[in-house]
């Protein structure tokens, strides 16, 4: 059996979204160019990063410090070392993800020609679209390597689907505001529109961050309590429900579930129908599940 160990995009690209869409500012560059012996002034607009190049690492480190100060950690592990191990894992996955890294860099370096922010968010959305089946496979494999109930993994699939819906909402907002910015006659108007765009998407990313944080807390908690060595903490062989403290597990699951609900409630303002799914009632799995639910729960025994 092939065991997928790579985490879904939503596990580590929340920060990339913030870097690609929020931690940028528009700048105007005026250059003097010579054409056929005549001097012209060429004005171009581009984005620059507000943060220093090391910020991604700092941000990831800070996130992991906060996570490990929130969850219970077994006494055979040192919290600082765990922060280090998980941060390095996040950073190396980001570093290895050349496509994503290049896209974030492109936003900062591309001239205003074209639609760099829209390109970025479309890239994120399309990439998620092409990989979403794989993300479900990851959760299926995690379920088979554990004795946690299936409903625990269902919530992670719900989380990924919510993330995807959120990318589509962001894409619509970016398309509208960047289009308005691109038709601005002056740089001041252009800057104003980009700032409006950032103000519009900031609360969405704030909501997403809280959801990503609660998801990370829950995942890290189950992972560290199912590991004995630092080398296995990011991908333990088996997740045993008996190895985690039930009260703490319920607390973290409760927070995670309520954060997903909050984000979904928030997304309804932008897309009132996003929770509505067309279930194929002729599909064998749906038919089987539908009939099964009509039996009393006491018959769910084998």
């Amino acid at each position: 059996m092939t065991i997928a160990t790579v985490a879904p995009l939503s596990d580590y690209s929340g920060s990339a979204l913030r870097f690609g869409l929020i931690h940028i500012r528009p700048i105007q560059v005026v250059e003097t160019v010579k054409k056929s012996g005549i001097k012209f002034q060429r004005t171009s607009r581009r984005f620059e990063s507000i943060k220093s190049p090391k910020s991604y690492e700092e941000l990831v480190n800070l996130q992991n410090e906060t996570i490990f100060s929130t969850i219970q950690v077994p006494d055979w592990f040192d919290v600082n070392k765990l922060v280090d191990v998980f941060s390095q894992d996040n950073i190396s996955r980001y570093e290895q993800d050349e496509e994503l890294k290049e896209m974030v860099e492109n936003v900062k370096n591309t001239e205003r020609k074209g639609r760099p922010l829209l390109n970025f968010i479309q890239f994120m959305r399309k990439r998620f679209e092409t990989r979403k089946d794989h993300y479900v496979e990851i959760e299926a494999n995690r379920f088979l390597r554990s004795n946690f109930p299936l409903s625990f993994y269902t919530k992670f699939v719900v989380y990924d689907k919510t993330y995807y819906s959120l990318l589509k909402v962001l894409e619509d907002i970016v398309r509208l505001y960047e289009f308005q910015a691109s038709s601005a006659r002056s740089f001041i108007m252009y800057e104003k529109k980009i700032n409006e765009l950032k103000r519009k998407i900031s609360p969405i990313l704030d909501n997403l961050d809280q959801c990503v944080f609660s998801c990370s807390c829950l995942k890290r908690f189950t992972m560290v309590w199912n590991s004995r060595e630092y080398i296995e903490v990011t991908n333990p062989e088996f997740l045993d429900v008996e190895k985690v403290d039930k009260m703490e597990f319920q607390r973290l699951s409760g927070i995670f579930n309520s954060k997903i609900r909050e984000v979904r409630g928030f997304l309804l303002h932008y897309n009132p129908d996003f929770l509505f799914k067309e279930i194929d009632s002729q599909d064998n799995t749906t038919k089987m599940f539908g009939k099964l639910l009509m039996f009393p729960s006491s018959s769910f025994k084998i």
Binding site: E139, L150, Y153, G265, T285, F289, S299
Partner: protein, 253 residues
């Protein structure tokens, strides 16, 4: 704006049918009637909880059958016959599953433990899925087969989760949540008619609402075996109408 005709209180099976598109003609008629006459379709806290619990229990049950029961039996059958665990699945594995399900049918018949039908639903689903794969000539290992089954369940249960939130949590469809302060005396009188938990709580919620709001209330259910077959005595003793969704409107007119 609610109707002066009264209101409906919906049972768990109505919500589950709506989510999974079961009993569609009956549910569609109810929705059409409620919308045309502006009748509120209420869902009590107890129904809300039971819907959530049932979905979780069914998915846990199915997950465990795939992860433990099916996997364990397939591996054991192969080991007995010296077939490598990594080999692609064949008719041998389908026959091994036939043996597994036969064993459970015999066990259930002997002990009267559990019900035959949930098992036969899983049997039909698993065997037809594997049969289709083998008919297409696709090579699949036991691990990959399990993964595919779990993927299908995760896709479905995550969609059900969304529809549950659409319908109940965020009340984006025809259903309204109604919080009811329970009165144990009323719950016990429903229970005394041999209507067990949690059904007696669902009906008690509708009765309490009818008393408190003085609004004519109909409890709508598809449960023919333990509620609708007692509808006369429930009405006579407790004053609440219980009926099938097809007829619900006409009990308010």
């Amino acid at each position: 704006m609610s109707s002066s005709l009264g209101c409906f209180f919906l049972d768990t099976n109505i919500i589950l049918s709506e989510i999974l598109k079961e009993n569609t003609p009956r549910i569609e008629q109810l929705k059409k009637d409620a919308s045309f006459h502006k009748i509120t379709c209420n869902v009590s806290d107890s129904v809300e909880k039971e819907v959530d619990k049932k979905i979780q229990e069914a998915s846990t049950f199915l997950g465990d059958v795939i992860r433990v029961t099916i996997n364990g039996h397939l591996l054991e059958s192969r080991q007995k016959c010296g077939i490598s665990l990594m080999d692609p699945m064949t008719s041998f594995d389908i026959k091994a599953l036939e043996e597994l399900f036969s064993y459970y049918y015999d066990f259930i018949k002997e002990t009267k433990f559990g019900l035959l039908s949930p098992l036969s639903l899983i049997e039909e689903w698993v065997i037809s899925f594997l049969g289709d794969i083998l008919n297409q000539g696709i090579e699949i290992s036991i691990g990959e087969f399990q993964t595919k089954l779990v993927e299908k369940l995760l896709e479905l249960t995550s969609d059900i989760d969304s529809l549950y939130e659409h319908l109940i949590t965020f009340q984006r469809s025809f259903v309204k949540k109604k919080s009811i302060q329970l009165d144990s005396r009323i719950t016990q009188s429903v229970n005394a008619l041999e209507i067990h938990y949690p059904d007696c709580v669902h009906i008690a919620s509708a009765i309490i609402h009818q008393i408190n709001s003085k609004e004519k209330t109909v409890f709508v259910t598809l449960d023919f075996s333990s509620i609708l077959d007692k509808k006369q005595i429930i009405y006579k003793q407790l004053g609440i109408i219980c009926c099938d969704p097809l007829y619900a409107l006409h009990h308010l007119l």
